[in-house]
């Protein structure tokens, strides 16, 4: 019997490695030779890397009755997206960008609601303003899904706003890679039309994309090395990506040999006929860059995949949403005020 640890703490749902089978198609777009590719240094002109992430929180589930007598469910929610902007050569201090919380009152369709403004009792703390947003259905989970969708949209807009364009034709050298965005999680479907050098980094490996004869390479990668780039088409055929694996750090003997490995993906055209040089460039530098950004086990339980800037960003985003307890109290006081109790 052989037992190996999943590297992440047990209280994180799903762990890092789930390794469900994959039914889509993969094509060798870079090279048919399935072997480790060493990391290259980060080119000088790449001066900005943004790490983008988002966070959301439901702050209260409510039952609403509008002025016309319509009744439905809803939820007070907050979401925040933000970015850490840093220079991969360490020439300047990393800074937080655009970390601002938004608040919505997601409600069942067909209700007519005004923005809800929660005034504080203490003038030192600000006002909370919830904009009404209708959900697609009356499903009780719909407000949460709406909130999640809003967050992902905002995250995507932010990601693409920062990144350099990726030229899609072989001869196009209009824009060199000067700005790269790392986005937490898989890339959203709608983002392909927005363009830009956006890399999705997938911290967990829930799906095992590689066939059994190729999986072995993931365990053999040395820190910084990557696999060749593959063109991936989902089983529905609706999304296509360039994807590759890179190792951030070595696995301890008690861990699964694939721990420390991360999958990256970038948008790809549906037909696998051409590998844009920018994608190859990003893949080449990814080992070096992520090796630098990867966190350490004694500081972050999700090391190394939870990147150093991401952890800081998560903390800043949590802060910008405010204390959940205080917000809940504020909502309660507001409702009490509406009923004339307080």
């Amino acid at each position: 019997m052989r037992i190996r640890l999943d590297p992440w703490p047990v209280d994180i749902e799903g762990g890092q490695l789930t390794l469900d089978p994959f039914d889509g198609t993969l094509i060798d777009i870079e090279t048919p030779r399935w072997a480790a590719i060493p990391a290259r240094p980060i080119p000088r002109q790449l001066s900005t890397v943004q790490v983008v992430d988002g966070k959301r929180r439901m702050e209260g589930r409510v039952f609403v009755e509008d002025d016309h007598g319509n009744v439905g469910t809803g939820g007070f929610g907050a979401y925040v997206v933000g970015a850490v902007s840093l220079c991969p050569h360490g020439s300047r201090a990393a800074e937080l960008l655009d970390v601002r919380a938004m608040r919505v009152l997601a409600h069942a369709p067909a209700l007519k609601l005004d923005p809800t403004s929660l005034s504080p009792r203490d003038p030192h703390s600000g006002t909370l303003l919830y904009h009404p947003v209708p959900t697609d259905s009356a499903d009780p989970m719909a407000p949460l899904h709406r909130l999640q969708a809003l967050m992902l949209d905002a995250e995507q807009t932010l990601s693409h706003g920062y990144a350099s364009l990726v030229p899609t034709e072989e001869t196009d050298d209009r824009e060199a890679l000067t700005s790269l965005t790392l986005q937490d999680g898989t890339l959203r479907r709608g983002g392909a039309t927005l363009g830009g050098a956006v890399v999705g980094y997938v911290k967990t490996m829930q799906t095992q994309y590689l066939s059994a004869d190729r999986v072995g390479l993931l365990s053999e990668l040395k820190p910084g090395e990557r696999t060749p780039i593959l063109h991936m088409k989902s089983e529905t055929g609706r999304s296509t990506r360039f994807t590759w694996y890179v190792r951030l750090s070595g696995a301890a003997f008690y861990q699964h040999p694939m721990s420390g490995v991360m999958r990256l993906e970038m948008y790809a055209p549906p037909e696998p006929d051409f590998l844009p040089p920018t994608v190859r460039e990003v893949a080449n530098l990814s080992g070096t860059l992520l090796g630098r950004l990867g966190s350490h086990a004694h500081k972050d339980p999700r090391a190394p995949q939870n990147l150093i800037p991401t952890a800081a960003l998560e903390q800043a985003m949590g802060r910008s949403m405010g204390s959940a307890d205080l917000v809940t109290r504020r909502i309660r006081a507001h409702i009490a005020g509406l009923q004339g109790v307080a």
């Binding site: 850490v84 840093l86 201090a93 990393a94 500081k299 150093i308 800037p309 800081a312 800043a316």
Partner: protein
């Protein structure tokens, strides 16, 4: 004193905001320093908070702690990631304020978010309670930002309080320099009123000949002050900022003990560096007896109770013996000294058949005869009293021990005119400052001179009252008034400390370690000053008036920087004071007296 410069009266831009993540109290609070602002230790700041009824309360305080740290990072090693540009973090720059004044006295806490300003102009006056001092403030030095620290003269001259005590390590704490600077400031700032010679100073010079050039201008003062001005970015040199003249002390007399030599030799002052202007001082034997100086010869009076009785009764005998004549020497009729003694000590007989006692050694020999040798070893019964021979022998032994040291100072081999001329008199008309050089004397002789001079001064002031304040500058208080033990000079110093302020005698005392000085002397000082301290010493209870952060800093103070605590301002304030305008060494003496070389040269040529 009206011309203390507190700078422009405008309220400055906020430099910070009161923090909400630490407790805010009316006596101490933290504030976050705004980006681009700079706050350092000892900065004086002002905060205004608004009460719910709309009225305002102003807080004034001094920064006693400043710190920066990374905010939002967890691990110490995160600084590497921040510096490498991987981890976003902001620097939190915060300062702690010890409140020195709340106006009006509503001890509510300031609110988080209240703006903090540097105290300037009127704010500074309030922070340092200068408004309470009014005309009675004199400059005590410059704050770190070049503003003047006012010291309340009412707490110096005895009106509300008196005495100044200075602690610090020898050499680096510059205690004497600061004491002299304070004297200069008191005398020359006009705080004493228009009568320029209203105050007097009696300064004991205990180390080197440092203080023997007080009346000479320092040739380095211009360059040193120009240097300090450039270094600190001051608008003017420090004397000008404080409104003090760059001048040496005026109307100074220098007293030095006579050079030891054989009896009858010329009486010249025992100094090395200064050739003119120093007067030797001595007491005549008759004065020694008539003015009851005997107790000051004995340093450790508490050695035994019986010895104290002997000293008391002999003091009385000598007093009676000295009555009836005014020659510097004494004459006795009941003593036939040994011939050996005669040859040795040059005793002369006069035609009356009595014996002249003209040296201290002879006085000791006479006492020995009266106490031990007369009546075939029984001693003169009237002198001996009921004391045992052992106690009397101890008394004589001690006298013999100090005989060598006192012989040049207490003598009968001078003419009456000389005795009058060389009698030390710090209250001599036309003299404002008297420097008594005792550094060449042995410890016993130093104690004797200090004790007798202070006793005389005290008795004089008891008679005439407190017009004419006299400042006594005495270093090494731990020697003269040690915490343990008892001595006549300690009694005098205690008298001065406890009653002197009502008589107009102000002690500017200094010592390396306040913990070794009689507690009542230190605790009676209204103004306390600390220079560089040994860190172990700084933790002793005598320095509890310094907040912890100041005690830690006392170990790193540079020469020329002092912590000054005065009753009006509840927290000590760090000041620097200018380079002395008077010479402290022979080679600092400005031969040109401030004139140009050409002018002096012309004087010589024509």
């Amino acid at each position: 004193m009206t011309n203390l410069n507190f700078g422009a009266a405008e309220a400055g831009a906020p430099v910070g905001m009161v923090l909400g993540t630490q407790d805010v109290t009316p006596v101490s609070f933290w504030f976050a320093v705004l980006p681009g602002a700079s706050v350092q230790l000892d900065d004086l700041v002002a905060v205004q908070t608004r009460k719910p009824d709309g009225s305002f309360v102003n807080f004034y305080g001094i920064v006693d702690h400043v710190r920066t740290r990374h905010e939002g990072v967890t691990f110490d090693s995160d600084v590497q990631d921040v510096a490498a540009g991987l981890l976003p973090a902001s620097v939190s720059y915060a300062a702690r304020v010890l409140v020195t004044r709340v106006n009006p006295e509503n001890f509510i806490p300031p609110q988080p978010g209240d703006g903090v300003r540097h105290a300037r102009g009127d704010d500074l006056r309030m922070a340092l309670s200068a408004d309470k001092m009014g005309e009675k403030a004199f400059p005590g030095g410059l704050l770190a930002d070049g503003q003047v620290l006012p010291v309340n003269y009412r707490f110096v001259n005895g009106e509300n309080g008196g005495h100044i005590n200075i602690s610090g390590i020898s050499g680096v704490a510059t205690k004497t320099s600061y004491a002299l600077f304070l004297l200069h400031s008191i005398f020359r700032s006009g705080v004493m009123g228009t009568g320029a010679s209203a105050g007097r100073a009696l300064i004991f010079n205990v180390k080197g000949e440092d203080l023997l050039f007080l009346d000479k201008r320092n040739r380095e003062v211009e360059s040193r002050e120009a240097q300090a001005r450039a270094q600190k970015g001051l608008p003017d040199h420090r004397y000008a900022l404080m409104g003090l003249p760059v001048e040496a002390f005026r109307d100074v007399q220098f007293l030095a003990p006579p050079r030891p030599g054989s009896a009858g030799a010329a009486i010249v002052p025992h100094v090395e560096q200064r050739a003119e202007g120093v007067t030797p001082f001595l007491y005549s034997l008759r004065e020694f007896c008539a003015r009851r100086m005997l107790p000051y010869v004995f340093v450790d009076r508490d050695a035994s109770v019986n010895l104290g009785f002997v000293i008391g009764s002999i003091e009385e005998r000598l007093y009676r013996m000295a009555q009836g004549a005014d020659t510097p020497y004494l004459t006795v009729e009941d003593w036939q000294p040994d011939t050996e003694q005669v040859l040795d000590e040059d005793v002369r007989f006069d035609e009356m058949g009595s014996v002249r006692i003209s040296t201290f050694a002879q006085l000791v020999a006479y006492l020995e005869y009266k106490l031990l040798d007369a009546n075939d070893g029984e001693g003169d019964r009237k002198w001996v009293g009921k004391q045992s021979p052992a106690t009397l022998q101890a008394f004589i032994r001690r006298l013999r021990g100090v005989q060598k040291h006192l012989t040049p100072l207490v003598r009968g081999d001078v003419s009456a005119e000389q005795a009058a001329r060389f009698r030390p008199d710090p209250l001599k008309p036309g003299v404002q400052t008297t420097v008594v050089d005792i550094h060449t004397l042995s410890a016993t002789a130093q104690m004797f001179i200090v004790g007798v001079l202070l006793r005389d001064l005290f008795e004089h002031k008891e008679r005439v009252g407190r017009q004419d304040t006299v400042f006594v500058v005495l270093d090494e208080l731990n020697k003269y008034a040690p915490r343990d033990g008892d001595s006549p000079i300690k009694d005098v110093l205690l008298d001065i400390a406890e009653r002197g302020r009502s008589l107009g005698i102000i002690l500017i005392g200094a010592q390396q370690t306040a913990s070794e000085v009689e507690r009542r002397i230190v605790s009676n000082a209204a103004i306390r000053v600390v220079g560089r301290l040994d860190l172990a010493e700084a933790e002793r209870p005598e320095y509890r008036f310094l907040p912890q952060s100041f005690r830690a800093r006392a170990g790193i103070l540079q020469p020329g920087t002092m912590l000054v605590s005065q009753p009006d301002v509840p927290n000590p304030v760090l000041v620097n004071y200018p380079f002395p305008a008077w010479a402290t060494r022979l080679d600092e003496v400005d031969d040109l007296q401030g004139k140009k070389v050409e002018e002096v040269g012309e004087d010589w040529l024509y």
